[in-house]
């Protein structure tokens, strides 16, 4: 079983180095997402370990701290793809609370709401009160900035942030940067960080030791996944040039409602599942909109992402967990 997994992993590593996303590559990614594989980055070389669910503990030792990424809760959405997104958000929170370790904090990578309505933000806040982790960091999605230049979002989640809500913080030597790439978008374009934010980012990173692990998080992917559907950021290359010197950089995004990962040297990119509804793989549907799956499949395609920071290797271990708690057995079926 372990050998089979290792071959699968090696093949996956090769696939990840290709920039294009084909259907087979996507399916492998999707299968991978449910396996509970723990990826660690050590000096830029990814290594995997089995996530030992039976013992309830991660096989990865020496964790410095952990956090959970959730994304795309879309509170207010009520169409057939998921008539009750508040219920699936609650399931995600229950999954977080059932983790063997209480995360130090949560990161929500945007599209908290469906229409930037106060009632939607209220419902989200109410649900999150039940999360074991009390510190939550947010970045907005395009659904959160729909009224008055994002007034509703910024009033609630913008304290201490700059511009449209960007900021940075440190946790046990790891430097986190929340970026906003969903405002002032140009017709025909992708996501956009904008000049002011890029200047701030360059300044924020200046003078930090190259051995500082960096985590960037933003709603729209900071790498080009599928431009036809707007899955990318026009000026992300400039942002990424500012992190070139660092030994470990992890980019966490949402927006596409499925797990995709790419590793480029010391830079690893990861997108999270939504807690509300899945979206199709690139080019496999007329549009990027909500994808209906059979009701009993819904919890397999929604999920949370558990991230463990390993002090020893100064690396991050990223584990995607579907809401139904499925692991390797499910992945073997779907990767066939």
């Amino acid at each position: 079983m372990a050998d089979k997994k290792r071959d699968f992993i090696d093949q996956k590593l090769q696939d990840l180095n290709n920039d294009g996303v084909d259907r087979r590559g996507f399916l492998k990614c999707m299968a991978w997402a449910g396996t509970g594989l723990v990826w660690t980055m050590s000096g830029g070389i990814p290594v995997s370990h089995a996530f030992d669910k039976s013992s309830g503990k991660s096989a990865v030792k020496g964790a410095g701290f952990s956090f959970v990424q959730i994304s795309d809760s879309h509170i207010g959405f009520n169409k057939p793809a998921n008539p009750d997104v508040t219920a699936t958000l609650q399931t995600a929170i229950n999954r977080i609370n059932a983790l063997p370790h209480i995360p130090d904090f949560l990161i929500h990578t945007g599209d908290l709401s469906q229409l930037s309505k106060p009632s939607e933000f209220d419902t989200l806040d109410q649900a999150l009160k039940g999360a074991a982790a009390k510190q939550i960091y947010f970045v907005p999605g395009e659904h959160d900035m729909l009224t008055d230049n994002g007034e509703q979002y910024l009033q609630r989640y913008g304290k201490g942030t700059k511009g449209a809500g960007w900021y940075s913080f440190d946790q046990k030597g790891v430097h986190f940067v929340g970026l906003v790439n969903v405002v002032n978008l140009k017709a025909g374009g992708l996501g956009s960080l904008g000049h002011e934010q890029l200047e701030w980012l360059e300044d924020d990173l200046k003078g930090r030791s190259a051995s500082t692990p960096i985590v960037l998080f933003a709603h729209i992917p900071l790498w080009t996944i599928y431009p036809d559907w707007g899955w990318g950021t026009d000026d992300s290359e400039q942002a990424l040039s500012y992190v070139k010197k660092f030994g470990s950089v992890t980019v966490l995004n949402g927006h596409i409602h499925q797990v995709m990962q790419k590793i480029e040297g010391k830079l690893s990119f990861h997108t999270a599942m939504s807690t509300a509804f899945p979206q199709p793989a690139p080019g496999t549907a007329p549009s990027a909109g909500p994808m209906k799956v059979p009701a009993d499949q819904l919890q397999k395609v929604l999920g949370i992402t558990d991230v463990n920071y390993l002090v020893s290797g100064k690396s991050l271990a990223i584990v995607d967990s579907p809401l139904d708690g499925s692991t390797s057995s499910a992945s073997e079926k779907s990767s066939g």
Partner: protein, 139 residues
């Protein structure tokens, strides 16, 4: 002879009435210039926009599957265009030149804009900027 004289008088009266009618209609058209109205906005409830009986030509642009269709529309000046969102995701209608800007339109919400001046009016969805379209207004 008499009949011809009478008919001339009648003709003049009809002409006068026609002139008055035309002038009134022009004045009416002027007061409706560049009116933008929309329904639903951010409230999320779907209801049809109604600005009374249409006073001129109408055109509809449907939004579905992250696409405006038709993508390019040519209309006569004075046409009111209605965008209707048939997608299961909200979208917006934003002029790239700042001439009009809708609120977020949920499913079945509409946005209306009356085009008075001839010209080209490119627009897009500010949430999903790959969605673009254009209204071409002819005199």
């Amino acid at each position: 002879m008499k009949s011809i004289k009478i008919s001339k008088v009648v003709d003049l009266r009809w002409s006068a009435m026609a002139l008055v009618t035309v002038v009134s209609l022009m004045a009416l058209g002027g007061t409706l210039a560049s009116s933008a109205s929309q329904s639903g906005g951010g409230s999320g409830t779907a209801h049809a926009a109604s600005a009374g009986a249409p006073t001129g030509p109408e055109m509809e642009v449907k939004i579905d599957n992250f696409v405006f269709s038709p993508g390019v529309v040519t209309v006569k000046a004075g046409t009111q265009v209605t965008w209707i969102n048939k997608d299961d995701i909200p979208h917006t209608v934003d002029s790239t030149e700042g001439k009009f800007k809708s609120a977020a339109l949920d499913t079945d919400d509409k946005f209306q804009f009356k085009f008075i001046e001839p010209g080209e009016y490119p627009f897009y969805c500010r949430m999903h900027p790959k969605m673009t379209g254009k209204i071409i207004v002819q005199p």
